[in-house]
Amino acid sequence: MLNRKWKYPVVFSSLLLVVAACGNDTEPEQNAEENGEEITTEAEDQELIVYSSRNENFTNNLLDKFEEDTGIEVLVSHLDETAVNLIKEEANNTQADIFISNEIGGLEHLRDEGLLQGYTPEGIETIDEDYRAEDNSWIGLSARTRVLMYNEDLIDESEVPTNIEALADEQYAEQFAITRGGNGSMIGHVAALRQEWGDEATLEWLNAIRDNAGIITSGHGDIRRAVGAGEVAFGLVNNYYYHQQIEEPVDNNVGVVYPDQADGEMGAVINAAGIGMISEAPNQESAEQFFEWIMIPENQQAFSYDSMEVPLNPEIEAYENAAPLDSYNIQDMPLRELGDMWEDTRELIEQSGLDLEIG
């Protein structure tokens, strides 16, 4: 009796088991062994799980180099700024070891929520204290500045607005491109403006640029291509997109204006890309190794090189055309203050009706 009753389920479930077992082959092993000493011998079994909010073309070479140097296999999820919320969502079931972020606000916000862990790698002092967390749970590595990039065939440099506030001016209606409100760099920028102007003026400005913008894109890559191809006259981007567009084989007749440079003006808004170490990282050892590895000067350079950003470590040579940080006026606001403002800023943007996401 028992035999008859159970044969069918046994066959069925063993079939499922076989299938599930096959499934396990490529499954990330989340409980890598935690033997501190045997790094080199066990490197082949080690993994590093990375959530990245950067464009994958900026991180691929860097992570490949890490794989080559250490033998640790890197599994990366290319997300956008949604990575911040994903890490929060998975707080009870931590998946990632390292978060490579496109801006500082999200990193500091995560630290504030207790989702990052402090770790001090060798060579940390090469990065100014303003650009890393108090407990070094996140470290900024490369800087970007908010600029206006324009198409030289369509508009003369003198016609490009010289300050960010002017984007709200009707004379520029339909002439420029911005990203959606939920873009990480955009959130950082708006947070800086709140600091400078207050919430009310910022909200008004957001309302105005939403109506004024000719194109609202998901990311900045679209803006640089749109400006390059002449779809719009100019666009609000991070400065390295300008350097990238100049190097394109076509559509490269573009110029750049660093806004708010006159005396008494706020200076250009900056932000930084960097790395954070996730609390309860499933591959703690790999995460620590990544932090140590990235502080090696040549790897710091590799972090900023593909995106053509400026390294925050002044000792490291920047990409040849990238304008160094001290060559223009920047807004003086410590980047970690962005963390406190991160969620409020998203709310303010949502209030303004500038869509966080575009579909």
């Binding site: 044969k7 069918y8 096959c22 499934g23 599994l75 939920g182 990311g219 002449g230 579909g359």
Partner: protein, 530 residues
């Protein structure tokens, strides 16, 4: 109690284990979706009101207007094509019969990529326009692919064959005697079409319209790539910003719309059955088009060009460029392998899960087995984004071990595509007479032996065909893969998505071409089915 049990099963209750397995499978399949609906109830009145106030009306308008206009367009194109191909002497009519089904092998999101490459703001045509002296005098490049019209155009092009296939097959079945009578009464050809054929075609049109409208409502890829906002893309973006509760609210509303369509279809079907005598010979007599022969041919040719030649041509051209740029590298092979692996896994699981459910339904019909059957079909009409949302919820919170694994992606495919195995398996099991079971039982076989030795071998071809269909659907799947893929796991479909968003067409094209080639496999099956 025992009597009641027997009465439910009409005196033929199944083995306990069979019932438990089927029930568990069916419930597991439906859980993620039911959980989404349940969670939306916990989203709170305030969130519901906020969404009902400003988000949902816009989405409803976008989704419904798109669905209706695409459905109408596909009916017009599909029915007229079917009539010309089946009933007139349009040139190459035997070829058109299957050539017009070919657009089905191109997933709409790949079609969208092709038209973005050609007609997008930085596409081939726009560049020509800006470079040409006299054209740029006329003003800006006039085509706007990222628009309602763009989405409507692309979805219509790649879904009209559903209507065409169904309408053609019913046209072939309609007795010619009606037409002869009408003609003898002096009706003109167009009168015959409207007064004789159209009424007969109504059920076919209804069935085609159902398929198309469900497709449009659940489609994500083409809509998101063309930057249009319907429920599916809004749910995706809400999840992107991890406002999962808002996503559940939108999902519940979308789920409701889907049920409404299914219900309307059921009413439509039951109310309007058309009866015709099966007597009356189908003659081969066809309508001569006369001077219209070539104009009609060019219209058909034009549709074929837009729906097949242009997208395939674009993909071949860019694949060629990609080939020279080294797009077929180790990574491409890895993506292809990942795709086959996860799709194969899904096919195997789907076949295993389908067996007990099919057996139960066909051999032990009852209220319970039909509930199990209905539950297993629930993924059919569900958008991938909702399935993914439910799975993220359930697995991240309750089964963390499986969260972020390849198996989860495969399970999402099973939920969505299981009905394809169920259908083909059922069809072949119906051909096996229950008398064979009884014969085997009377010779001393135990029920499980009957199932494995008698039934399984006979229905295996049907099950395998269903598995192949699941495989192909899984290869094409985009939204659930995007949302559920674990770190480091990319498939051909997700690469097309990423590369297109970066304008790197030569990297997207080889993957698209490979998906199209794989999709050709079930084309024969589709042609036979209708």
């Amino acid at each position: 109690m025992k009597n009641l049990w027997l009465r439910i099963w009409k005196g033929n209750p199944p083995g306990f284990s069979l019932l438990i397995i089927s029930l568990t499978a069916a419930v597991l399949l439906a859980v993620p979706v039911l959980y989404v609906v349940f969670r939306s109830m916990t989203a709170g009145a305030e969130r519901w009101m906020r969404l009902l106030d400003d988000r949902i009306p816009e989405l409803l308008w976008n989704t419904i207007s798109l669905t209706i206009l695409v459905t109408i367009a596909t009916i017009v194109i599909g029915v007229f094509l079917a009539w010309f191909v089946e009933r007139t002497n349009v040139p190459l009519r035997n070829w058109w019969r299957w050539l017009m089904a070919v657009p089905l092998v191109i997933p709409p999101y790949i079609g969208a990529v092709a038209y973005i490459i050609i007609a997008g703001p930085r596409g081939t045509l726009a560049r020509q326009w800006r470079d040409s002296e006299w054209l740029s005098q006329l003003g800006e490049f006039p085509l706007e692919i990222y628009s309602f019209t763009g989405v409507w155009f692309v979805l219509t092009l790649f879904t009209f064959p559903y209507v065409f296939l169904i309408a053609s097959s019913s046209l072939r079945k309609i007795s010619r005697s009606y037409e002869e009578v009408a003609r003898s009464q002096g009706l003109s050809t167009s009168n015959i079409f409207y007064r004789v054929y159209l009424p007969f075609l109504r059920p076919a049109i209804g069935a085609g319209a159902l398929l198309v409208s469900l497709y449009v409502i659940t489609d994500f890829g083409a809509i998101a790539m063309l930057r249009y906002l319907t429920f599916t893309s809004a749910i995706y973006y809400n999840m992107g910003s991890y406002d999962n509760l808002s996503a559940t609210v939108l999902s519940t509303v979308l789920f409701g719309i889907t049920l409404l369509i299914l219900w309307m279809n059921a009413r439509f079907k039951s109310g309007r059955n058309v009866h015709q005598s099966t007597k009356g010979k189908a003659t081969d007599q066809i309508v001569p088009l006369g001077k219209w022969r070539w104009p009609v041919f060019s219209v058909i040719m034009m549709i074929f060009t837009f729906a097949v030649m242009i997208p395939v041509g674009v993909m071949i051209y860019w694949s060629y460029i990609g080939l020279q740029a080294g797009a077929l590298d180790a990574q491409f092979i890895e993506y292809a392998w990942n795709t086959f692996y996860v799709s194969g896994l899904a096919a195997v699981i789907a076949m295993a899960v389908a067996l007990p459910i099919i057996y139960l339904k066909s051999r032990h019909p009852s209220v319970i087995s039909s509930i199990i059957d209905k539950l297993s079909y629930s993924g059919y009409a569900l958008p991938g984004v909702i399935v993914a949302l439910g799975m993220i919820f359930v697995f991240n919170n309750y089964v963390p071990v499986l969260y972020n694994t390849v198996l989860l992606v495969a399970l999402a495919f099973v939920i969505r595509f299981l009905p394809q195995v169920l259908q083909s398996g059922e069809a072949s099991l119906q051909l096996v007479s229950p008398k064979m079971d009884e014969a085997a039982r009377s010779l001393g076989s135990k029920p499980w032996q009957v199932a494995t030795r008698v039934i399984l071998p006979t229905i295996l071809p049907g099950i395998l065909a269903g598995g192949a269909l699941v495989f192909v659907s899984a290869v094409k799947e985009l939204p659930a893969t995007l949302l559920l893929r674990p770190p480091g796991f990319e498939t051909l479909a997700t690469r097309i998505w990423v590369e297109t968003s970066e304008d790197i067409y030569y990297m997207a094209a080889p993957a698209a071409l490979l998906i199209i080639l794989i999709s050709i496999i079930p084309l024969r099956y589709l042609l036979k089915k209708y």
